[in-house]
Amino acid sequence: MSTAISDRREPLPTTAVFGGSALAATISIGIWCLLGAFILIPSERASFGLAAIAIAAIELSRRYAPRSFEIACDAISQKAAVFVCVSILAVAAFPLLVRDDPYWIHVITLVFIYGFAAQGLNVHLGETGAINVGYAGLFAIGAYSSAISVVDFGASFWMSLVYATAICWAVGLLIGACTIRTSGDYLSLVTLGFGLIVYQLAVNMTWLTHGTDGVHIPSPGLFGHSFAAELQFGPIQLPKEANFYYAALLFLLAAMLLSRRISNSWIGRTWAAMRQDPVGAGCFGINVPLTRMFSFAFGSAFAGVAGGLYAGTIGFIEPGEFSIFMSITLICMVILGGMGNWWGVVVGALIMIVVPEKLRDFQELRYLLYGVVLLVILVYRPYGLFASVRRKHEKLIG
């Protein structure tokens, strides 16, 4: 409940609205400058040095200047609109900064796509407590549905996203129906099996999926503009990677808005009540099996658009990409960002995609360092970076 949360906040010490907005804007710009610098500094070592200094500064100010830290946090949370505007501007302007090197545009596009998928997985993991370790299977179904309907059935790319979403929703409903009597650890085992089955089917059903040869997806177009062409905004010319960058960004923003609405409404409240105490929820009119089933289907549907965008952006899919490793990456995004937090999981996606890219310089040490980063975050923030209020205080009943 947005109203319930706002009750807990104390008013900003400075009553001047403009002062609060200016502070919020300054902090937001600072955050995005730091992030941009982290990504764009060519030397990886310098990047991580910068990150270490920034984190140390935050930690020190939290410890030794708690009041200032609180004021800064309040400014952001109370002037969320300012932060959102600055963020959207910053993210929209990013391709301008890296016009000459489209590689980072491509990486951030992947962040958006994974962030979109993480919204769906968050419904399973964060909101309803269904520990789905086979989300890559759904992701694969989304990607293949979209690719096959474009390549073999001649559908337009945008319509194929609709088909993929519908198919993922139906598959999610099916899994939900099959697992109606299981929950917790047993449910994760079923989803693990599901992920493996989808992978095997993608390899072996060559008549449909072209097997390990993979599927090539032609670049889509929109209103006569081909996504294979460079993007022209008046005098500004952006590389062709920017097409999918902005498309994926719009989809991600829509998904975040959707998640927020659902999470703050009676639906999110029902899910939270059911997750924490299924027996009690049943005694208050909530049809637990049916609600579980449809929430699973809802979370699965996100994989349709995510998979379709993924296929379109990469231009080529093959079964190997949708391995258990992808499921684990997605789970890490949700847990790291903060389960049940619709914007936290996007931060999780950002970290999980950008950090390994920045670590390329360290070669074989890469995954070791990556693991260390994850460990350190979860040691200091056991509920993820930005835990949802509901999650942080819950204790499962019964």
């Binding site: 319930a4 959707l258 609405r261 105490d277 049943g282 208050f284």
Partner: protein, 271 residues
């Protein structure tokens, strides 16, 4: 419901339990219980631990399957075999002996969970955040606040506080508010004063009187005899899965079977 209405409908019981049996393996948790609950009553159910009081509640609310017998609701509806959410929608709400509240939700959100069957807005309205959805939401919001105010005016002043931050007594009050928010016909309270001190118990007694005065029939499982005698118009005594006595508190207090159930055979003979 006014007193006249209660009198006139007193002939047909709200809830009619007949020859109810529940077996857990070889254990006969409930062994042929008959019990009638009439509209407007406050019925106390007492008895030693393991006498089948909570199990009876669990059967009525659909959490435990009966091995035999029937539970008739409003004269004709059979509740044995119905799902808990169906039973709640037909007008029976309950609280639990060990408080079952999602700790991560606020006091008000928890009460609003009880209004789930009345959420009329569909997914599309939620996603579009339509005017109708917002109106509906604020309407239910107000109703939940009313229920919260009834059991605790103090809590209603800070409805956004998380249950995890609240005291045990406040959690009990929220549980009762959640159970009455949808104005059920019958409220089952399972040891509502467990873990409460004398003051809190007295306050809770007042709350229950308010709920009863609002026209809700109440069945109360309780161990504190003073509490039961103050509130109940009628008391049923359970022992070893059977109802051994029923009547006004003062009458059953001197019943030899009741004394035997509580104190044992030899002591009862001495008394």
């Amino acid at each position: 419901m006014t007193f006249d209405q209660i009198e006139s409908s007193a002939a047909t019981p709200l809830l009619k339990i007949r020859d109810l049996r529940v077996n857990f393996g070889g254990v006969r948790a409930i062994d042929g219980v008959d019990l009638d609950i009439f509209p407007g009553e406050v019925v106390g159910v007492i008895g030693p631990n393991g006498s089948g009081k909570t199990t009876t509640f669990n059967v009525v609310t659909g959490l435990v399957a009966a091995s035999g017998g029937s539970v008739r609701w409003l004269g004709d509806r059979e509740l044995v075999g119905a799902a808990p959410w169906i039973i709640y929608k037909s007008g029976i709400a309950r609280t639990f002996q060990n408080i079952r509240l999602p700790l991560g939700l606020s006091a008000l959100e928890n009460v609003m969970v009880g209004l789930y069957p009345e959420e009329r807005s569909n997914w599309l309205q939620v996603i579009l955040n339509s005017r109708r959805q917002r109106n509906r939401n604020s309407e239910l919001h107000d109703r939940a606040e009313c229920a919260l105010r009834l059991v605790s005016p103090a809590l209603a002043l800070s409805p956004g506080r998380l249950v995890a931050e609240l005291s045990y007594a406040d959690r009990r009050r929220i549980e009762i508010a959640r159970a009455i928010v949808a104005t059920p016909k019958l409220l089952l309270l399972d040891e509502p004063t467990a873990g409460m001190n004398a003051t809190e118990t007295r306050e809770l007694g007042d709350d229950i009187k308010k709920v009863s005065a609002a026209g809700i029939t109440i069945v109360l499982v309780e161990h504190k005899m003073k509490f039961v005698s103050d509130l109940s118009s009628r008391v049923a005594v359970f022992n070893l899965g059977r109802k051994i006595a029923e009547g006004r508190y003062d009458d059953i207090r001197s019943d030899p079977r009741v004394i035997e159930a509580y104190l044992g055979k030899r002591r009862a003979a001495q008394a």
